[in-house]
C-alpha cells in the first residue's frame, strides 16, 4: 500500500513538474521515487517499518498486504526504477510519459495484492490503459501507431472475455471475494467429489483465457511480437517484465483459490504451456530483428511460468518472485544494451557487431544477461529455472521434459548475440554509456547465480 501511495503521489507531482522545463531530471526523480517505494515495501515485508494506519484504511476483503504482496510490490517498483534509469540517456521521455508508466505500475500493485475481483479488474485496467498510450508514444512512427492500436484492441477484447468469466463466477459462487468464493456451498459440494457447477467451470475457463491473453501465452500470443516490436524500447521492456510478473501473480492468486477443487483446468493448461514453450522458442530461432527475437523469447518464458501456475497452492510464490527477478534483470541488461547499440535504426543483430572491441564491459554484461536468459549455470536464470523445474517435476514430469527441450532450443538463438558481439567486426560506432549500471546488474545476476540462498535469506 505504501508503494502505491508513494508511486501515485510522485507521479502526480511529476505531472506538475512539467511546468518547469528541465527534462533530464524527470527520469532521475521518477527512478528515485520508485526506489523509495521499493525500499519501503521491502522494509514492510521485513517488519522494519509498518504502515498499519494507512493499511487499516483498506478493508481486508479488498486488498491484502502480507509479506508476499510487499515483496512483489518491491520487485515491480525496483524493475521500473531500473528501466527509467537505464533508458534516460538517449530517448526523450516527457514527464507525462513517466507519469503514465508510474500510474500503470499502480495497477500492477493492485493486481498483486487483490482480494476482490473488483480490485483485480481495476488493477488490470489501470495497468493496461496507460500502456495503450505508451505503446503509441512515438506518434509519427507508423509501427508505433500499429502497436498501440493492436494492443488496445486485443486488451479491450480480452477484458470482455475476462469479465464474462467474472460474471459466471459471481453467479456460481454468489460472491466476488476470493475468501468467500472458497467457502460457498457449491464449493463444499465440489470438495466432496461432486462436479463443480457449470457456471463456475465456465467462469474459470473464460477468466483464464482473458489472463492468458495478457501474459501472451499460446495460442493467444499472436499480438505480442508486433506490439513488442512497434512499441518504444522502454515500453516493450515494461510489457515483457512488469506486465507479465503482475499478471502471473494475479493468475496464481486466482487459481490457488480454486486450487485443490477444480483440477479440470490443469489438463488443458499444461498442454497450452507446452505449446507456448515450443512455439516461442522455435519461432524465435528464425527472426531477423532483435526485438522480435526477444519478444518470442518472452513468450517462451511465459510458457515456463504457466508450468508454475499448475502448482498453484499458495505456498511456493517465492519461485515466481525469484524467476521474475532473474528474468527481469537479464531483460534489463539485454534490452538496454540493444537500445544503445541500435540507436541509429538498425533492427537486426548486426547492431551488436564488434561490441567486444568497442566496449568489453558492455559485451561481458550482455553475455551475462543472455546466459541468464538461456539458463546456463552460475547465472540467476539457471537457479530460477532449476527451482521451477524441480518443483514441477513432482507434478508434471512430461512438462519439465518439454521445458528442458525448449531451453535447449533457446541456446540456438541466444548464441546469435555471442556471434555478433564477440566474433564480428564493428559495423557502427554507437557508443555504450552507463557502464557502471550495466556492471552492477551483471554482478547482481552472477551473485544470484552463485549464492541464491544467501541473497534470498536476506531479502525474502
Amino acid at each position: 500500500m505504501i508503494a502505491l501511495f508513494v508511486t501515485f503521489f510522485s507521479a502526480a507531482v511529476l505531472l506538475f513538474l512539467g511546468l518547469n522545463k528541465r527534462e533530464s531530471s524527470y527520469s532521475l526523480f521518477a527512478a528515485l521515487a520508485l526506489f523509495v517505494s521499493a525500499g519501503l515495501s521491502w522494509a514492510c515485508s521485513a517488519n522494519l517499518v509498518s504502515f498499519h494506519g494507512l493499511e487499516s484504511w483498506v478493508p481486508a476483503n479488498m486488498m491484502q498486504f502480507g509479506k508476499e504482496q510487499h515483496l512483489f510490490a518491491a520487485l515491480l517498483a525496483f524493475i521500473v526504477g531500473f528501466i527509467l534509469l537505464m533508458f534516460r540517456k538517449n530517448e526523450v521521455i516527457g514527464n507525462d510519459q513517466l507519469g503514465l508508466m508510474m500510474f500503470s505500475l499502480c495497477g500492477a500493485y493492485m493486481m498483486v495484492s487483490y482480494q476482490h475481483l473488483v480490485m483485480l479488474f481495476l488493477g488490470i485496467e489501470v495497468l493496461s490503459i496507460p500502456l495503450f498510450v505508451l505503446a503509441g508514444a512515438n506518434k509519427s512512427n507508423l509501427a508505433s501507431n500499429e502497436a498501440s492500436l493492436k494492443y488496445f484492441l486485443m486488451g479491450a477484447f480480452s477484458t470482455g472475455i475476462f469479465l464474462l468469466g467474472t460474471a459466471f463466477i459471481y453467479g456460481g459462487t454468489g460472491s466476488l471475494e476470493l475468501e468467500m468464493m472458497g467457502i460457498k456451498p457449491s464449493f463444499m459440494h465440489a470438495m466432496q467429489g461432486m462436479p463443480l457447477p457449470v457456471l463456475i467451470n465456465a467462469g474459470i475457463v473464460l477468466m483464464s483465457v482473458g489472463l492468458l491473453f495478457k501474459v501472451a501465452a499460446a495460442p493467444f500470443h499472436f499480438w505480442a511480437p508486433d506490439v513488442y516490436e512497434g512499441s518504444p524500447n522502454r515500453t516493450t521492456l515494461y510489457m515483457a517484465t512488469v506486465v507479465k510478473i503482475a499478471a502471473f501473480v494475479a493468475f496464481y492468486r486466482f487459481l490457488s483459490t480454486f486450487g485443490g477443487i477444480a483440477d479440470a483446468w490443469k489438463g488443458w493448461m499444461s498442454v497450452l504451456g507446452a505449446i507456448t514453450i515450443l512455439w516461442g522458442n522455435l519461432a524465435a530461432l528464425n527472426q531477423a530483428s532483435v526485438k522480435r527475437t526477444l519478444a518470442f523469447s518472452s513468450i517462451a518464458h511465459a510458457g515456463y511460468l504457466v508450468m508454475f501456475l499448475l502448482m498453484a497452492d499458495g505456498t511456493n510464490t517465492w519461485i515466481l518472485w525469484f524467476y521474475g527477478l532473474a528474468y527481469a534483470m537479464a531483460s534489463l541488461l539485454v534490452f538496454s544494451i540493444a537500445n544503445q547499440v541500435s540507436f541509429q535504426g538498425e533492427r537486426g543483430f548486426a547492431a551488436f557487431d564488434g561490441l567486444s572491441k568497442k566496449s568489453p564491459v558492455a559485451a561481458i554484461a550482455l553475455a551475462v544477461g543472455v546466459l541468464s536468459m538461456a539458463g546456463i549455470p552460475v547465472s540467476a536464470g539457471f537457479n530460477a529455472k532449476f527451482y521451477l523445474f524441480s518443483f514441477a517435476w513432482q507434478h508434471m514430469p512430461w512438462l519439465v521434459g518439454v521445458g528442458l527441450l525448449g531451453s535447449a532450443i533457446s541456446v540456438g538463438y541466444y548464441f546469435k548475440f555471442f556471434k555478433h558481439a564477440f566474433m564480428n567486426q564493428p559495423s557502427n560506432d554507437n557508443p555504450v554509456v552507463d557502464r557502471g549500471w550495466l556492471m552492477l546488474l551483471g554482478g547482481l545476476i552472477l551473485l544470484l547465480g552463485a549464492l541464491p540462498w544467501a541473497v534470498l535469506n536476506v531479502i525474502y
Binding site: F121, I129, F168, L176
Partner: protein, 108 residues
C-alpha cells in the same frame, strides 16, 4: 416492488442465454468487421452483455455487489473508449484510414 414480477416468471437461465447471445454477437463482430471504430462498438456490446448478466445475478440473489461491479465496468468502458478513440484519431492522422488492414505492416 418491481413493475412486473419478473422474478417469478423468468428464470435466471433466460438471462444467461440472452447475455450469451449478445456476447456472441459482439464476438462475431470483433472477428468479422475491419473498421476499428466498429470493432470498438462490438467490444462495447460485449461489455454490455456482461453488465446485463451481472445485474441479473445481482437482482436474483439480492446482493448489491454485482450492481456495483457494473458501475466499475461502465467507468472502465468510458476511460477505455476515450483512450481508444484518441488512438484511432492518431492513426487516422497518419494513415487516413481506420481500417485494421493497416495493421499488417509489422511482419517478420
Amino acid at each position: 416492488m418491481s413493475i412486473l414480477s419478473v422474478f417469478n416468471q423468468v428464470e435466471i437461465s433466460h438471462y444467461i442465454y440472452l447475455s450469451t447471445v449478445l456476447f456472441s454477437i459482439g464476438l462475431f463482430g470483433v472477428l468479422f468487421r475491419r473498421n476499428a471504430i466498429i470493432l470498438l462498438m462490438c467490444i462495447e456490446l460485449m461489455l454490455n452483455a456482461v453488465n446485463l448478466l451481472f445485474t441479473a445475478f445481482s437482482s436474483y440473489m439480492g446482493d448489491a455487489d454485482g450492481q456495483i461491479f457494473v458501475f466499475f465496468i461502465m467507468v472502465v468502458a468510458a476511460a477505455e473508449a476515450a483512450v481508444g478513440l484518441a488512438i484511432l484519431v492518431l492513426v487516422y492522422r497518419n494513415t487516413r484510414k481506420t481500417d485494421v488492414s493497416f495493421l499488417d505492416q509489422l511482419k517478420g
